[in-house]
């Protein structure tokens, strides 16, 4: 393989990915009895408003201190906190519903390093039959108004309704984050 060659194209996970990707339960990033455990759940909808049972979500997040368990995050004074790897994966059920148990991440540095800060957020990949490549979105939190208002990624989305699709609604002990592939409620997706 020559240097500078193009990358391998993405292809859909198809309808039978459970076989290879969901043999273990990765939906709990922390133990249920973790003192700061939160539930993030929602439903995946297609362009006809039908639920999508053959979808899968993956989460990638910093810990509660805003530290990513990865060598690229080598900032001093922020050791990994709770032993969580920060990775989660959950398949939708027959009702298109998914549910994760995790902790709310801390703020992390913004574009270009430590000058600006990003509001607490979770990075999300969505896979499904009919998606030739993953969709990327983010979960922000409705009880972080101040941090959200200063977040550079949220600020890059002009339409306030579109921006609001990234903000999970707080309810008792958890947050609701629905994913809409199309339509007037379409979730904002990113070109990573």
């Amino acid at each position: 393989m020559k240097p500078g060659s193009g990358s391998t194209p993405s292809q859909t996970v198809g309808p039978f990915f459970h076989l290879g990707l969901l043999r273990e339960d990765w939906s709990r990033l922390v133990k249920l009895d973790h003192p700061s455990a939160i539930r993030i759940h929602g439903t995946v909808y297609d362009g006809a408003g039908e639920v999508v049972p053959d979808a899968m979500l993956e989460l990638w997040q910093a810990d509660a201190n805003g530290h990513y368990a990865h060598p690229e995050d080598d900032r001093e004074g922020s050791p990994p906190e709770d032993g969580s790897t920060g990775f989660g994966r959950c398949g939708a059920d027959d009702a298109g519903h998914f549910e994760f148990v995790t902790v709310k991440p801390g703020s992390v540095p913004g574009p270009g390093g430590g000058e600006s800060w990003q509001a607490p957020h979770i990075n999300v990949s969505v896979f499904a039959r009919g998606l030739l490549k993953r969709l990327v979105t983010r979960v922000y939190f409705s009880d972080e108004d101040e941090a959200n208002a200063a977040d550079p990624v949220l600020a890059s989305i002009e339409d306030p309704d579109f921006r609001a699709t990234l903000v999970a609604r707080a309810e008792d002990g958890g947050y609701i984050f629905d994913v809409h592939f199309q339509g007037e409620n379409q979730t904002a997706f990113f070109d990573v």
Partner: protein
């Protein structure tokens, strides 16, 4: 590998290689019509969130997880094959210690999945799922059986070319890739909208494995080579003194 560390956050992060990738909407692949996003994507700068990603530990991968022919009491039916290759970044550097997950249909073209209604036989000795970690040269190796082609409901007389699904993480959230590996010379290529959704013929060819006599083991199994190229970095490597 400290010497390979790259000052990613000082740079533009990972290169976008959209020319090699399929679109979201490819109407010939029916399911994209209601699932492709309608609104334009929001360009995301590569921050620490995108430059980091899940790290999978060696201890979690079993020594036989790469061998799909040894997961049951007996051996699966079909043509035993070896699939091997390297995982590289777009600059030809090996992607080391990185998790690869794979899944596939059996030799008759049937997945061991309750949703698969194709009336071909299940094989009690074949589940069709495996995983492994790349080694220090980015190399991986699976032992399996050649999957069969199978019909699907996309259009009249639609058949998927034989393929193995591969899922890779690479070093960062930005490098996540799920793809499919095909076999050389498959007559179904020209009829398959999933394969054809990649418009660049050179990129499409990167989805096709190569018969490899040097990976073939005498009296035992044919070998196929399949290199997987993840996105490259915009940065040039620098010494890391941290």
């Amino acid at each position: 590998m400290r010497e390979e560390r790259i000052s990613l956050s000082q740079s533009g992060g990972y290169r976008r290689d959209s020319e090699s990738q399929p679109p979201y909407l490819y109407p010939e692949y029916e399911s994209t019509r209601l699932r492709a996003p309608g609104r334009p994507l929001v360009i995301l700068p590569h921050t620490l969130s995108e430059l980091t990603g899940p790290v999978y530990g060696h201890e979690k991968v079993g020594t036989l997880d790469h061998d799909l022919t040894r997961q049951h009491v007996g051996e699966p039916l079909g043509e035993r094959i070896i699939v091997t290759g390297r995982v590289l970044d777009g600059d030809g550097r090996p992607v080391r210690n990185s998790l690869i997950e794979a899944w596939q249909a059996n030799a008759a073209g049937r997945y061991a999945h309750h949703g698969d209604r194709h009336p071909a036989p299940l094989d009690p000795n074949f589940t069709g799922a495996g995983r492994c970690l790349t080694d220090s040269e980015g190399r991986y190796r699976f032992v399996t059986v050649k999957p069969g082609a199978y019909p699907w409901g996309n259009h009249d007389n639609a058949w998927r070319p034989a393929h193995i699904h591969f899922s890779l993480f690479g070093p960062a959230f930005a490098t996540r890739l799920v793809t499919q590996m095909y076999f050389p010379g498959d007559p179904l290529f020209e009829h398959d909208p999933i394969f054809q959704s990649v418009s660049d013929p050179k990129a499409r060819q990167r989805l096709v494995s190569r018969f490899d006599l040097s990976a073939t083991e005498p009296e035992w199994a044919l070998g196929y080579s399949f290199d997987i190229v993840l996105r490259g970095c915009n940065a040039t490597p620098v010494e890391n003194h941290g």
